[in-house]
Amino acid sequence: MKKRGRGIGCNLYGIGYGFNRPDHSAATVDVTDDGTVIVYSGCCDMGQGSDTVLCQIAAETLGVPYEDVSIVSADTGRTPDAGASTASRQTYVSGNAVKKAAEEVKAKLLEFAAEMFGCEPEKLDIKDGKVFRKDDPSDFMPFKELAKDAHQRGKQFIAFGWYDNTTKDVDQETNQGDAYATYIYATQVVDVEVDTETGEVTVLQVFAAHDVGRAINPMNIEQQVEGAVAQGLGYALMEEIILKEGRTMTPGFNKFLIPTAMDVPRVITSIVEDPEPKGPYGAKGVGEGAIIPTAAATINAVYDAIGVRITELPITPEKILKALAEKQ
């Protein structure tokens, strides 16, 4: 018999290293002589999309088109140290470092532009690749011209930004204190169908609501959430490195099974934006948080469907059949 169930899973996740571990990032932003921009950041993009997000933050802060911003990342010979791409920290920590560098570059540019406009730098702004008077936006100069002009006069617009996310330490005996700078939160809902004859669990659909502070790039967030849910379902239902007296019995993809396109259902991502004042444009992060509630929600969905509670992951058909037999 096939029975359906729905389960909820929730979590919080402290982003960054926390409890006083050094948590810094540095970046350099350089406006070249044709007005295009290079971000130098030690941040590794392993596919999560940090290169893109850091370029968006630089473009937004400088007021130049995103297409004109490129990035050199993660090279000890060329980029400043941004810390590791772990702990869902790069959008927040490196995002802040890039923003600070870009703000400083912008301030220098406006100072230079002020001479040309014959006004105070505070009267000027940059947006969409144009430097303009705030009180009269029709009085503007293309950003590229400004950059070219500046470089011809030997000016360089390059700045270093550093952001320190190191938190205070917690009490060693009680672990009480401000352990993390901020947290991300999530709720996921997993719908399953359990075959009580075979013990097989089919996941029908997943809903995933994640508080990310601010979505710098909603597409990237969907990518992170959809991929994390698939990994989380693998963790819940099939994945296990089996050791026998220390020897790995599952050393390949034929034994350590991960979800294929046939195993993963549709995921509906719902982005909650509750801005974090310290985050760049209010952003926090998402990468790690996205995977956390999936297994919990799946366990609860299986319980909802067939009334047996699995307390050992993964939820294999054998465990389900055994639990069903014990229940009867």
């Binding site: 029975k3 359906r4 729905r6 899973g9 929730c10 979590n11 919080l12 996740y13 409890f19 571990r21 590794c44 993009d45 392993m46 596919g47 893109t52 968006q56 933050i57 473009a59 990342s73 090279d75 000890t76 010979g77 810390g83 772990t86 947006k127 005996e173 672990n175 009480q176 401000d178 947290y183 939160y185 999530a186 809902v189 809903f207 508080d211 502070g213 979505a215 790039n217 990237n220 963790y235 994945e239 020897r247 790995t248 599952t250 050393p251 350590f256 991960i258 719902s270 909650v272 509750d274 444009y281 956390i292 297994a295 919990a296 929600a297 366990i299 609860n300 909802d304 469907a305 050992e312």
Partner: protein, 424 residues
């Protein structure tokens, strides 16, 4: 209209064109002139003393350029993400299956593999411990100096005895999670090369080149300003490329041979040798009042570290700090224990200990809800952390606690998407 120009937009990824064209360069796509291939001989015992290593036959194999054991390391023979507890090449003993014992650089991968088979290692087996309980037994031999209990942390908020006394319902359970692999599709890969000035460059599939450099330089006995680590396009990582994998092996062989060396772990090596997500055994007791307010939570977490720390002490600690979930609970007591065993190493993997914690706290929430005759959603809404409420470490936020809103979104979803054929 949005207040932002590009923030909040679905901007095209900077890396996407080169990736769909197949032009993105991953570390394995580097082919350097005169490049050799490196392979490691790995321990076949989970815990054993090394008596002798005989590399003579391997050295004589045509096409072999270098065979290295711990004696050939120019600098220190230790590395580690947080604690330098891992030998680059096993010296006194091996602590798990898969510890690297010797390295070979050869003209081809096949020759390197053949040379590996020709190396003879004599071991003296030691008692090995495959469970946390066995490793913590009083008569267990220490896997590392300092014993098998790597770390014990304590979280104390309020007074749990009082909290349970105020609870009408108490639910107590034990949860066990398994060991899993990151399973990124690109295996661990590095290419290392010395230039004409004696500078070492390592191109790698990594999550943090600066910490790689910090660990490579002392092993090859070079200052950091002579070592450059460049992250190549990386085919997934999820925490598994946070630790050193192939970087030091490639660097050592390149320094030894003076030739560029590529080291690619096979899928099997990746499964055996890279870090895994920690199996955790979680004892948890949760108390609530009749109207569903959480009053107390007490927990113990035992994590199986495997043979080396990586960053598992922080992972285990973080799991403890998150064991109460996104809820306000006035009284909390949690103890965590990170324990060395002779199993595969556990380290960072997306979620950093919190998947294990959430499996436990979310199972508990549903069990409580059922006993209280509440819906799973209702009990969560009642206890959700909000601005102004303290979390497990007593921290109170004035901003950006969006948990309640994620629950409301879920509520809306469940209303508009009723589960067809579900149990009423």
């Amino acid at each position: 209209m949005s207040e932002f120009s590009i923030v909040g937009k679905r901007a095209e990824r900077k890396d996407v064109r080169s990736k769909v064209l197949g032009k993105a360069l991953y570390a394995g796509d580097l082919y350097r002139p005169g490049m050799l291939h490196g392979k490691a001989l790995r321990s076949e015992y989970p815990h054993a003393r090394i008596i002798s290593i005989d590399t003579s036959r391997a050295e004589k194999l045509p096409g072999v350029h270098a065979v290295m054991t711990h004696k050939d390391i120019p600098g220190i023979n230790r590395f580690g993400l947080a604690i330098l507890d891992q030998p680059v090449l096993a010296d006194d003993k091996v602590r798990r299956m898969g510890d690297a014992v010797a390295l070979v650089a050869a003209e081809t991968v096949e020759i390197a593999e053949e040379a590996i088979r020709l190396i003879k290692v004599e071991y003296e087996e030691l008692p090995a411990y495959f469970t946390v309980e066995a490793a913590l037994a009083e008569d267990a031999l220490p896997i590392h100096e300092g014993g098998n209990l790597l770390q014990h942390t304590k979280l104390r908020k309020g007074n749990v005895e009082e909290g349970f006394a105020q609870s009408d319902i108490i639910v107590e359970n034990v949860y066990q999670t398994q060991r899993v692999d990151h399973a990124y599709i690109e295996p661990e890969t590095s290419v290392a090369e010395l230039d004409h000035e004696g500078n070492l460059t390592v191109w790698s599939s990594t999550q943090y080149p600066f910490r790689d450099r910090r660990q490579i330089a002392p092993v090859v006995n070079m200052p950091s300003n002579k070592v450059r680590v460049i992250q190549m396009t990386t085919g997934g990582a999820f925490g598994g490329k946070d630790d050193i994998t192939t970087e030091i092996q490639a660097a050592l062989l390149a320094v030894k041979t003076g030739r560029p060396v590529k080291v690619v772990w096979s899928r099997q090596e990746s499964m055996v040798c890279s870090t895994k997500r920690h199996p955790m055994k979680i004892f948890i007791k949760t108390g609530a009042t009749r109207d569903g307010m959480l009053m107390a939570m007490e927990g113990k977490i035992y994590s199986d570290k495997g043979a080396y720390c990586s960053i598992g002490h922080f992972i285990t600690k973080k799991a403890g700090l998150h064991l109460s979930g996104p809820y306000h609970i006035p009284h909390i007591k949690v103890d965590t224990y990170a324990v060395y065993t002779n199993n595969t190493i556990c380290g960072p993997y997306r979620g950093f200990g919190i998947l294990q914690a959430s499996f436990a706290h979310e199972s508990q929430m549903d069990l409580l809800a059922e006993k209280l005759g509440m819906s799973p959603l209702e009990i969560r809404l009642k206890n959700a952390l909000k601005v102004g409420l303290s979390n497990a470490t007593g921290q109170v936020f004035e901003h950006s606690v969006g948990f309640y809103e994620t629950l409301k979104r879920a509520e809306e979803y469940m209303k508009t998407h009723p589960l067809e054929g579900g149990v009423e």
